[in-house]
């Protein structure tokens, strides 16, 4: 099931605390991004403010996957920290969001490249965006993902060239998508269950309407 949390600050929501610990275990302990290490085991940065939309994948009440979305009209990682990755005019707009901190708990990663929880998160993010008229996101990832997302029907536009960060090649991209991508993700997720989407719809209905209006304006 997908749960969306927004308009809250760190420390204000128990599930979000679980998500911060998941982020710490994946990005710091597993991938070795030492700059993010914190003694309390919660990975939190300056972008985890009330503007962040946190997307959580829950299995039996436990956070097994996570993904963060931010409007590009507000400060965000790519524009404010990793701007050197971009060599094209930067697409800042209420209709362009940033995706970051995509992660799945180690023991829940599937046999395929993305796996069940990964597809669930991606499906949730795409559906959430489309529902708000958002069809463009900016993000940074390993260049190999470009081919992957193109197969899913995304139009991927590089904003710069691949650049090594901590000896991993990273590229900044803008990705455009529509409902067709949603159908493709659904197809690629072999263990897709319709109730996942139903859960998402319930969560969406519970989202504060203020934010929806804000995105559309």
């Amino acid at each position: 099931m997908i749960e969306l949390i927004s308009g809250v600050l760190p420390g204000e929501h128990p599930l979000l605390e679980q998500a911060f610990r998941l982020r710490h275990s994946v990005f710091v302990e597993e991938r070795g991004w030492e700059l993010l290490r914190r003694p309390d085991g919660r990975e939190i940065d300056q972008f985890d403010d009330a503007d962040a939309v946190h997307e959580l994948a829950l299995h039996e009440g436990v956070v097994v996957g996570y993904h963060r979305m931010r409007p590009t009209t507000e400060p965000h990682l790519l524009a404010d920290v990793h701007r050197h990755l971009c060599e094209r005019p930067y697409p800042r707009s209420p209709l362009v969001w940033e995706w970051t901190r995509y992660c799945v708990r180690r023991d829940r990663r599937g046999g395929s490249v993305l796996g069940g929880v990964g597809s669930e998160l991606l499906f949730g993010a795409v559906e959430w965006c489309l529902d708000r008229g958002v069809q463009d996101v900016v993000l940074e990832y390993h260049p190999g993902w470009i081919a992957y997302f193109m197969t899913l029907g995304f139009k991927v536009r590089p904003l710069g060239l691949p650049t090594e960060i901590d000896s991993e090649p990273i590229i900044a991209v803008q990705m455009h998508f529509d409902e067709r991508a949603l159908a493709q993700i659904r197809e690629s997720c072999s263990n897709y269950k319709p109730e996942l989407a139903d859960g998402l719809r319930r969560e969406r209905a519970a989202m504060p309407t203020k934010r929806k209006a804000g995105v559309r304006s």
Binding site: S112, V113, P143, I146, A147, M150, L161, A183, Q184, E187
Partner: protein, 241 residues
């Protein structure tokens, strides 16, 4: 012009190419700028399966292509082996093998040089369905500046994507779009809306077994393994929206 701008221009030229042969020319032009005359983009088949049907585009010397395919070199080629095991681009010289223990790998690499394929750079690629493939560039010498590697990495990704997009409609055209009954389409629409079989049975006032039969028949007509696959296939074929 910056390398970034050069690369973006090349990618745009590849993306706007309207025929497979114009994509081939664009990729060839980009590779030639870095001193690499040959390229191939393909998916990797399962072991001992023929390679040729998985090749999307290439400009290999005809003699080498024939020999490689006829002799099943795909099963021994150390470059293919490394492509399966990494997601990072690599030089052919980094696809290491023990010439004594692996004489066939050595044979492939030596024979390639007879066709002026002395050095090369390979970009592995993966897809959501778990298919592995890539693009490989070869030639007599490669001016491997960091910028050249970055540019080739992106050109490979977009060239492969475009070549794949051309291959797909051809496969689809071979199998004419199947005809689904009105009822099968109705059931698939409810599947697409996220309903379970029993929920659809309640909506259409029939038994769940009837729904399963409709789905099974739709799957058979669409050549799909399961209902999810059938829904996506029906969407692609514009049978449902």
């Amino acid at each position: 012009m910056t390398v970034a701008q050069f690369t973006f221009d090349r990618i745009e030229a590849i993306e706007s190419a309207s025929t497979p042969s114009s994509v081939l020319l664009e990729i060839q032009k980009s590779a030639a700028d870095f001193g690499l005359g040959c390229f191939m983009t393909a998916f990797i088949p399962a072991p001992h399966k023929p390679f040729a049907p998985h090749v999307l585009l290439h400009n290999w010397p005809a003699g080498w292509f024939r020999r490689y395919m006829d002799s099943g070199y795909v099963d021994f080629d150390p470059v293919i082996r490394k492509t399966r095991n990494t997601i990072e681009p690599f030089f052919w010289s980094d696809a290491s093998y023990d010439a004594d223990k692996d004489p066939l790998a050595h044979k492939v690499m030596c024979e390639a040089t007879e066709f002026r394929l002395k050095t090369g750079y390979t970009v592995p690629l993966f897809t959501p369905s778990g298919d592995q493939g890539g693009m490989t560039f070869g030639g007599e010498c490669f001016e491997a500046s960091p910028d050249a590697k970055k540019a080739l990495h992106l050109i490979a990704i977009y060239g492969h994507g475009k070549a794949r997009a051309f291959a797909k409609p051809r496969q689809a055209a071979r199998a004419a779009t199947p005809k689904l009954s009105a009822r099968e389409i109705e059931v698939l629409k409810w599947c697409a809306a996220g309903k379970t079989n029993s929920a659809i049975a309640d909506i259409l006032l029939v038994s769940e077994t009837t729904i399963e039969t409709h789905i099974a028949r739709a799957c058979r007509k669409l050549d799909c393994m399961n209902r999810t696959h059938a829904v996506a296939e029906a969407m692609r074929a514009r049978l449902i929206f």
